[in-house]
Symmetry: D2
Subunit: 314 residues, 4 copies
Amino acid sequence: MHRSEPLRYGYFGPQGTFTQMALASWLSEDQDALAAARPFGTVALGLDAVRSGEIDRVMVPIENSVEGGVSATLDALNSDNPLVIQGEVLVPITFVLAARSGTTRAAIRGVGSHSHAWPQVRGWMAAHLPDASYVPTLSTAAAAEALAAGDRAPYEAAVCAPMAAEVFGLEVLAEDIGDNASAVTRFVVVSRPGAVPAPTGSDKTTVVLYQHDNHPGGLMELLEQFAARGINLTRLESRPTGSGMGAYCFSIDFEGHVADERVGETLMSLRRVCADIRFHGSYRRADGRPVEPTRTTTDQAFEDARTWLHSLRA
Amino acid sequence: MHRSEPLRYGYFGPQGTFTQMALASWLSEDQDALAAARPFGTVALGLDAVRSGEIDRVMVPIENSVEGGVSATLDALNSDNPLVIQGEVLVPITFVLAARSGTTRAAIRGVGSHSHAWPQVRGWMAAHLPDASYVPTLSTAAAAEALAAGDRAPYEAAVCAPMAAEVFGLEVLAEDIGDNASAVTRFVVVSRPGAVPAPTGSDKTTVVLYQHDNHPGGLMELLEQFAARGINLTRLESRPTGSGMGAYCFSIDFEGHVADERVGETLMSLRRVCADIRFHGSYRRADGRPVEPTRTTTDQAFEDARTWLHSLRA
Amino acid sequence: MHRSEPLRYGYFGPQGTFTQMALASWLSEDQDALAAARPFGTVALGLDAVRSGEIDRVMVPIENSVEGGVSATLDALNSDNPLVIQGEVLVPITFVLAARSGTTRAAIRGVGSHSHAWPQVRGWMAAHLPDASYVPTLSTAAAAEALAAGDRAPYEAAVCAPMAAEVFGLEVLAEDIGDNASAVTRFVVVSRPGAVPAPTGSDKTTVVLYQHDNHPGGLMELLEQFAARGINLTRLESRPTGSGMGAYCFSIDFEGHVADERVGETLMSLRRVCADIRFHGSYRRADGRPVEPTRTTTDQAFEDARTWLHSLRA
Amino acid sequence: MHRSEPLRYGYFGPQGTFTQMALASWLSEDQDALAAARPFGTVALGLDAVRSGEIDRVMVPIENSVEGGVSATLDALNSDNPLVIQGEVLVPITFVLAARSGTTRAAIRGVGSHSHAWPQVRGWMAAHLPDASYVPTLSTAAAAEALAAGDRAPYEAAVCAPMAAEVFGLEVLAEDIGDNASAVTRFVVVSRPGAVPAPTGSDKTTVVLYQHDNHPGGLMELLEQFAARGINLTRLESRPTGSGMGAYCFSIDFEGHVADERVGETLMSLRRVCADIRFHGSYRRADGRPVEPTRTTTDQAFEDARTWLHSLRA
């Protein structure tokens, strides 16, 4: 694709967040774009900047292996004008305990961090700082930033990424304090709708499904559409539609690309049986694992079946 | 369709069978074709005559509300070169006890009839002729014909259609001797493959499905293809494939026409997941009952979904 | 079980049928019982003799690898007072062409046999006696018996078991004339209800299921009861209930014994969701193949789950 | 149950939260217990206090009709020693904008509130205070409390419950500012395991299910266990197990009581097919809507089936 203008990027900031690390990974061969990328204080603000055309791409967290789906992202992605995912990045999550230079552990009465990070260091805190109280902040980096800014922060230490400690000049009191050494967060690059990235043989697709009526058994009917074409789901989350207690829609990632025959037929079926379906993009898997259709669900199998049907109808 | 030559008909005979009655019903406005129709001694011979081009259409029984599927028809239809069903006729089944003039009930020691008819009069026989033995014949009409032909038949009375008694000049000793007053047999008109009759809004389709491997749970997977598109089955029979004990294929009638979107997608899916599928025609239902797709399975719903998918892929 | 009286046996006769061969196999260690066994002219007569107490056990054919289920047996088993299956026997089917001594092939204009045997030799007949007409008889042995009895049989040769040719003193003109060398028929030993044979680890169970309403998708709901407990079906046949075209019940054989936990729960579920269910026995498989439950459907898994539920309710 | 000691209650506080309102509703006839109830700063602290025996019951939020499941509660409920739900309360959610006396809207640059409340007033804020920045707090009441405490809060107004404004002596600048007038939050009363509340005919049960392997299609197999017994789900949420990206368990509420036959069989089945299942209680529905089993899933239907099975096995 020819572009005279370079793409403008944003991320859920401030500097020093895991999201910035994800963007650095995504833009590893385009240091100019990375340097020009703008931080946004909330996920919703970043997505709105893409919607308005202020920027072209934004990197936001969508799923954490310990804390689950990022509701703010799921809901903001699905509201207002449609947005689509262009790609994903997986970032291992490592936490440090950081403080202003000279602070001792004994002096720590409060610890600031994002509410998604706190449960991930709960075990370490119970063992090493059992009396410290938790102070929620807008992000893990914001906890570090406020601490570095002066003495007004209502806590003496921050739980943040190593990068944030470095960016804001804090001292690292303890490293790798996450309870789950294999914790990883998944980030996605979001854009306005447009050309879908070409299939790579290792792709995912993201949709949101709304049921006609709200009978919970209805979820099974939707899942059968995937199972009937041998399609694996990699994430399923229920999100309230807001129309009342128990009224949910389903945010789903599944293996395959909208250009695949089996995915196309699945999407058409869902379009028929759902009250609404929103398509949030097909994109390359970060882990590069190939998606292998079964013998009965290859593009060739679909084409053979179509040829046969045409011969019957002729 | 322009035809210079009239169609040549046959039926499972001899004269006087219920099958001839079915053909008379089918050809009610074409007495010339009916008069020229040829009887065949077995279902297989009639179907072979269509295959060879000797005749164009043959009427054969396929299903009886008391006795079940007619194995000979199901198997012969499915063997060798493919044949298709052009239409169906339902005929209420009424049996009479017929004998040569002057025969009294007391003189009846044996009763001839077809093996499908005998179980349908078993109750009447037990009540009125408990000591009579059963003698199987090639058809109910053949029982009457042999009786009329002379004194060599090893029985003194025949269980047959009223028409057969009349055709062969036998005396009716008892009418309506069937145990089940609502008994009905379904007949089908079979031809070589060619143009499928146009959809009427009240159609059926007949297929035979072969599983890849013979795990019986596999039937459920096939049935799900119909259920997923809101398609009702009206007949399902397992027939051995001949390749070993427990190796079955499934002969199925279902509602809808091959030209319907939901039927097309179902057939394509079956083509993909089955080891083999044989198409035996789409044709108007004899009862004229309209087939109503659900809101999510109309042709319009399929077209809307396809349009939407194309917009995503564009 | 203590029995002062030996069991009285019967079989679908006459002498020389494959059914007698099956009984001989079943009673291989009880030659006295075999010698005393009575032939019955039809399956229904044999089953009635068990119902009335005239005999204790009857051997009847139930399923043929080429011709499918034996409707007469399935329907008679399921009518009137319940009967149960005590065991099964598999008999390879071998046909001979037999005639009175001195008959040449050239002299054969008609061939007598049972209607289930004829399709199994159709290929041989087309190749070697293409002009011979078929004459149906009550059984393959009856064809041989009538031929041996004199010159009144309306055919010159019989298709029957080798044993029948020997019993009735006929000459074998051709051996192994079956089109399918691996053809096999399954026979069952039927009794009045009573103690169920003990589980052997290689068992089958036979039931007939009636749906509440006649929506064909209903079959899928019934099959799910088996699938949900990892139970394989080995035979499924639809049989008309007689109450109208399209009204079917399902005759099913499946792996496992009524004493197995997974079978018990399946039967209870079917009892709840079916309009009616008839139990026709649990018995040892003729092939002795062990039935292996999955890890989640062993008796132990069921007992653990029950213990856990009791702890919750306590 | 005889108790010499009154039950000791706690709630997710501080005073003035919607959770305290829920507890007030639950204890409407026991003002002494309400007055003695202790607030806990986080859901996890409250649940831990029940686990340790410090208190007997704690009221916590579990599900919001706009924001979805409360992850902190779902995860804390499911970790460590098991806890069970004794009952539920539904509280309509009404937000006010509150500030220190004399504050004008024009003076508001920052607004403090809990992160679950903020998205629920986003529309009102965009319309009336588009330039105000959001400051997360531990709870909606904590936002009000800090504002009332002095001039150190980094915001000039709080979004909180009307009750909180009253408790902390703040002035209400705007009422009913929630975007969704029908928003409601569901709270649950949690205790240590013990006697399950008796069935009322209008009950719910809560479980967490873990799959053996992590194939997402596996969810369908679990849902089938409910569908097969006619049990409706009222909430389903996936939560990460923490063992890696894409490894989820499912938190589920469904209709019925552990004492119901259909629920007991469902739980036993899930126990067999799941890697693990945690039971979090059966309790009366807050809306009092009766749970009607279908004809085939009443306790009587199960008992009849069991009696029949016993007769077969006898």
